[in-house]
């Protein structure tokens, strides 16, 4: 997996995990998310449009990031999940907590 991180003009951080989000890459994602929050970026969009695989450790990293962001007064939102990602969200009933947004741009609009 490759992880792209950028910060938009409105201060929202955008994280793009490309490829497989499994046990190995989940650690990297978890660290990236907690570094962002520690660095003052507590509003984060994770763009899952290029995440070809997700398992429970990837899910754990997303939940960890969500909790850290909320504790810092922000939020973590997920956008553009691929079918493989949606399938795991549904099987775990996390499609409510990790409600998928249609686009990265509008992920923080509502």
């Amino acid at each position: 997996m490759e992880l792209d991180v950028s910060t938009r003009d409105d201060g929202i951080a955008v994280v793009v995990p490309r490829g497989r989000l499994n046990m190995v890459s989940a650690r990297q994602l978890k660290e990236t998310l907690s570094d962002l929050v520690a660095g003052g970026s507590a509003r984060i969009v994770v763009d899952l449009g290029e995440t070809t695989f997700l398992d429970s450790s990837g899910l754990g990293a997303l939940i960890g990031g969500l909790k850290a962001a909320r504790q810092a007064g922000g939020d973590l939102r997920v956008a553009r999940p691929t079918p493989a990602v949606v399938s795991v969200f549904e099987l775990t009933n996390l499609d409510r907590v990790l409600r998928a947004r249609e686009s990265v741009e509008t992920a923080f609009d509502a």
């Binding site: 046990m23 695989f53 398992d55 429970s56 899910l59 939940i63 909790k67 795991v88 099987l91």
Partner: protein, 167 residues
């Protein structure tokens, strides 16, 4: 919910496909050290399997791949967790697993086996943890995606069998 049995002893729950697997000319078998880096190679094996079995539809591919990786991830993460507490083992015996994959017209099957410590789990009683839990979803996730999830400890090895029915 899948058919499941966890170390209940006896042959009652043993999936019939295990016998077919042993003789299937197209099965894929990999044996390797149980380390996190090997997961990518298992993803490649699954790609190879699916490329030659168009009868396995995308939704089933996703569920099956995720389940195999969950069970393998557990082996890598948990099965050797207490190794350092054990007397030094012969290196030839150290932390190895085997995975077999097969697709037939009726199902797609994986078996995993490892020489790690005995697993005592009740696969008949798996539930999702709290919404905000960061771990503990792997087995429940695999169980809800699979039609068969079966476990047995035999002669010092853990044996898992996973299957999704086709069509």
């Amino acid at each position: 919910m899948p058919e499941s049995a966890a170390g209940r002893g006896g042959e009652a729950g043993r999936p019939a496909v295990l016998d077919e697997l042993a003789a299937a000319p197209h099965r894929l078998v990999l044996s390797a050290a149980a380390d996190p880096e090997v997961m990518d190679l298992v993803h490649s094996m699954l790609e190879h399997l699916f490329a030659h079995h168009p009868q396995v539809t995308d939704p089933i591919r996703m569920k099956f791949e995720m389940s195999v990786i969950e069970i393998l991830g557990n082996i890598v993460e948990h099965a050797y967790a207490h190794d350092s507490a054990l007397p030094a083992v012969d290196p030839s015996e150290a932390r190895r697993f085997e995975i077999q994959l097969l697709a037939t017209d009726r199902e797609v099957v994986a078996t995993l086996s490892d020489n790690g410590m005995p697993v005592s789990l009740d696969l008949g009683d798996l539930s999702m943890p709290d919404e905000l839990a960061e771990s503990g979803r792997g087995l429940a996730l695999a169980a809800s995606a699979l039609d068969t999830l079966w476990f047995e400890r035999v002669e010092g090895r853990n044996h898992w069998c996973l299957a999704c029915n086709l069509g």
